[in-house]
């Protein structure tokens, strides 16, 4: 009590003595820490519990089986595959098949979706009605049924390969899929490829020059004829000069199937068509919403500047609409990728189908399911990252 002031002074400057739990910062840290422990603990429990259960049930576990010989065949593979390959390699084949369907599906669905979406806003009554009917039909049918429709309803009723429908030029259609001639390249063909590459490079340079000229003088130069001449004409001329260094192998009729040429299997066609057509219905609506989101004043302003409807759409409306379109479009791309696992119903060897075979041959359900989930998560996250990057780029267009 001798120096009451000296003792009181530090107390005043110190923080008020409050409960630890009433400090929002510390409380936040505590809550986060507890949550982290719970989450880590939960997953640790899952892992150890699973391992224990598998051990107790005497079920083989671990990822060692990926190195074992697969022993089964896969009908469609982009990379060479034989039954001597490992389970791991077979999964890779399935993964690539999934990617092929997903990428092609995204491209085709975007194309159809863009057309139909614009069609719904067309001033032409018939186009508008057809587009509306398309969207309302395919948006409201489960994708699995659309797949079955194409596979069992359309492709399966095509004739046997013996009586295949000939489409001319060696193209034919049967219930074994579409057969086309296969180009066989001779060594001299590299000249044509080189001409093609040069043609593209020169077209890029030419269009850059045309743009600079337009900036400088205001005069427009038509790029398309030059581009056609360079990209198509140049390789064609080289092809003839080099003495046609390519021949075609036509599919030959054998006892059971057509052999030779290129074959596109019905499972692939059905899955591809179904996924594209189904997803395109959603994309069409997204495109329509995006275009409607651009104020009509923009279109009127463009028209008043003398732009025709085509360039107005291409140069004014779509760039602005893209900002609205891209985020929901990403979801549709992800949906299409994930829906590709419905392939299992019609025997297209995608990741789920091949994984299912391995699951049953090895009995290692937990491992296969983990691989499935990890791969789909990986594909989806990669797609999201790309689309987010693209979205940021498009967003910068706004001024």
């Amino acid at each position: 009590m001798a120096h009451p002031i000296a003792e009181d002074a530090p107390l005043r400057t110190a923080e008020p003595r409050v409960s630890f739990l009433n400090d929002p910062v510390k409380r936040g840290l505590l809550v986060q820490f507890v949550l982290l422990v719970l989450v880590v603990g939960f997953f640790a429990w899952i892992v150890t519990n699973t391992a224990e259960n598998l051990q107790r049930a005497n079920i083989a576990s671990g990822f060692g089986f990926l190195d074992y010989r697969a022993g089964f065949d896969i009908a469609q593979s982009v990379v060479p595959y034989s039954q001597d390959a490992s389970y791991g390699y077979a999964l890779l084949v399935g993964f690539i098949n999934t990617l092929v369907v997903a990428v092609l599906g995204v491209v085709i669905a975007s194309f159809i979706g863009l057309l139909v979406g614009i069609g719904r806003l067309s001033s032409n009554w018939l186009v508008r009605q057809i587009s509306t009917a398309y969207v309302e039909t395919f948006r409201n049918i489960p994708p699995l049924l659309v797949i079955f429709f194409w596979y069992f309803g359309v492709l399966a009723v095509l004739p046997q390969p013996r009586d295949a429908l000939s489409l001319g030029f060696g193209f034919s259609l049967s219930n074994r899929g579409m057969f086309t001639p296969r180009p066989l390249f001779e060594p001299a063909f590299w000249v044509v490829v080189a001409g093609f590459a040069v043609g593209i490079a020169m077209t890029v340079a030419f269009s850059a020059w045309a743009r600079r000229k337009q900036m400088r003088t205001g005069q427009q130069t038509r790029v398309l004829p030059a581009a056609l001449a360079l990209i198509v004409g140049l390789p064609l001329v080289l092809f003839v000069l080099a003495g046609s260094p390519m021949s075609l192998e036509f599919p030959q009729q054998t006892r059971f199937n057509l052999v030779g040429g290129l074959q596109v299997k019905p499972e692939f066609i059905a899955l591809m068509l179904a996924l594209s057509i189904y997803t395109a219905a959603f994309i069409a609506e997204i495109v329509r919403a995006g275009i409607l989101a651009v104020s009509h004043g923009q279109t009127e302003a463009a028209h008043s500047l003398g732009l025709r409807p085509g360039p107005t759409l291409r140069l004014i409306v779509i760039p602005q609409a893209l900002r609205v379109i891209i985020p929901p479009l990403t979801s549709q791309y992800l949906n299409l990728t994930k829906n590709s696992s419905l392939a299992v119903a019609i025997g297209y060897p995608d990741l789920v189908s091949v994984g299912g075979t391995i699951l049953n041959q090895t009995g290692q359900a937990v491992e296969i399911v983990i691989i499935w989930m990890a791969v789909y998560l990986g594909i989806s996250l990669a797609t999201s990252l790309f689309m987010n990057w693209f979205n940021r780029r498009v967003a910068l267009v706004e001024r």
């Binding site: 107790r56 089964f72 039954q83 219930n175 006892r255 019905p266």
Partner: protein
């Protein structure tokens, strides 16, 4: 059809292997390991994993009742336990789902045209309780193809169900004979069959018994023929989980009892009279002498219950798949050892 299935069965029908694997992850299966027989008795019914619809072996009839060779085996086990062959619920399982369903405890026993192989016995945590049907893999083709041997199938498209021994045998056979083929692989039996029926494939391959059964479901069964080659051994039998010897014995001895009953001439019709037989073997089998039933946790008249419920092995065979059934399959290897086959019931002694 749903009326026949319990809630679990319905869930399984909707399920792929994902939720089943989840069962393993979360340890739901752990409880099922201890004493399956006690669990089944407490539950009041047997949960039997069956095929999704293979005529003659396991398929619901017009009235929604499951019938077939494998189904009767399920009923036999139920009769042995409860004295009532109807105390069984069926879970239809695809080839891909079947082992996980058994491992995770969703079903008590799997009787679903399942081939006994070494890896399935050793690395899946399962045990085969016997061979109720000796089968082999064959091919079915359209008659108008003009094929008379499997060796002429080079270049053919072949429909096959995924995740089966069939798929592996097929690959081995074509490689061994230096032939090419295009596999067309489906997950479900009906998808495989309808793809073949629609002409997507030139040939369908599965166990020979399955081919005869499938032929009945084709649009015009007469247009198809089974080729003579049998390319593999396919011993089909009931499967249980490892680590429960009592339950293993119940299933195994139900199978032997069915065989012994046929061998001793005990049938569904005469089982009551046979109880008064002087033959000591029959007396032991039917529980008149000894306590063999109690020794595996059942009542002593367990075999009487089985035979009353479903008949002996020969009766089950004839009724469902034999020459008097639509499948018209000969006994062949599945005749008793006394008739030139290899079905052999271990003695009850």
């Amino acid at each position: 059809m749903f009326g026949q299935l319990g809630k679990q069965g319905w869930l399984i029908m909707k399920a792929t292997s994902l939720p089943l694997a989840l069962g393993l992850v979360l340890g739901l299966g752990a409880a099922a390991h201890a004493a399956t027989l006690d669990d089944v008795k407490a539950k009041g019914f047997l949960q039997c994993g069956a095929n999704t619809g293979l005529p003659g072996f396991a398929a619901p009839d017009n009235a929604g009742n499951w019938t077939g060779f494998d189904v009767d085996y399920c009923r036999a086990v139920a009769a042995a336990i409860f004295g009532d062959p109807s105390k069984v619920k069926f879970t239809p399982l695809s080839a891909k789902e079947r082992f996980t369903a058994l491992q995770s405890g969703e079903v008590d026993v799997l009787i679903r045209n399942t081939t006994w192989t070494m890896s399935r016995d050793t690395s899946l945590g399962l045990k085969f309780a016997g061979v109720n049907y000796y089968d082999g893999q064959g091919f079915m083709v359209r008659k108008d193809l003009g094929v008379s041997s499997a060796l002429e199938l080079s270049g053919a498209s072949i429909c096959v169900q995924t995740g089966t021994t069939t798929e592996l045998n097929l690959a081995d056979y074509f490689r061994a004979n230096k032939m090419d083929y295009n596999p067309v692989v489906f997950e479900k039996l009906d998808e495989t069959n309808s793809a073949y029926d629609s002409g997507r494939c030139d040939a369908l391959t599965t166990d020979a018994s399955g081919l005869y059964a499938t032929r009945l479901t084709m649009k015009s069964p007469g247009d198809h023929m089974v080729l003579p080659e049998i390319i593999s051994k396919e011993p089909l039998g009931p499967v249980v989980r490892q680590g429960d010897d009592q339950w293993f014995n119940v299933v195994k001895w139900t199978h032997f009892a069915l065989l012994d009953a046929e061998e001793l001439g005990v049938t569904q019709a005469n089982v009551e009279e046979m109880k008064t037989s002087d033959n000591p073997e029959i007396k032991r089998l039917l529980g008149v002498d000894g306590t063999f039933g109690q020794a595996i946790g059942l009542s002593n008249d367990w075999v009487v219950n089985i035979i009353k419920g479903v008949g002996n092995y020969g009766e089950i065979f004839e009724r469902n798949i034999g020459t008097s059934s639509p499948l018209e399959i000969e006994r062949g290897l599945n005749a008793l050892w006394t008739d030139g086959g290899i079905q052999y019931g271990m003695p009850v002694r």
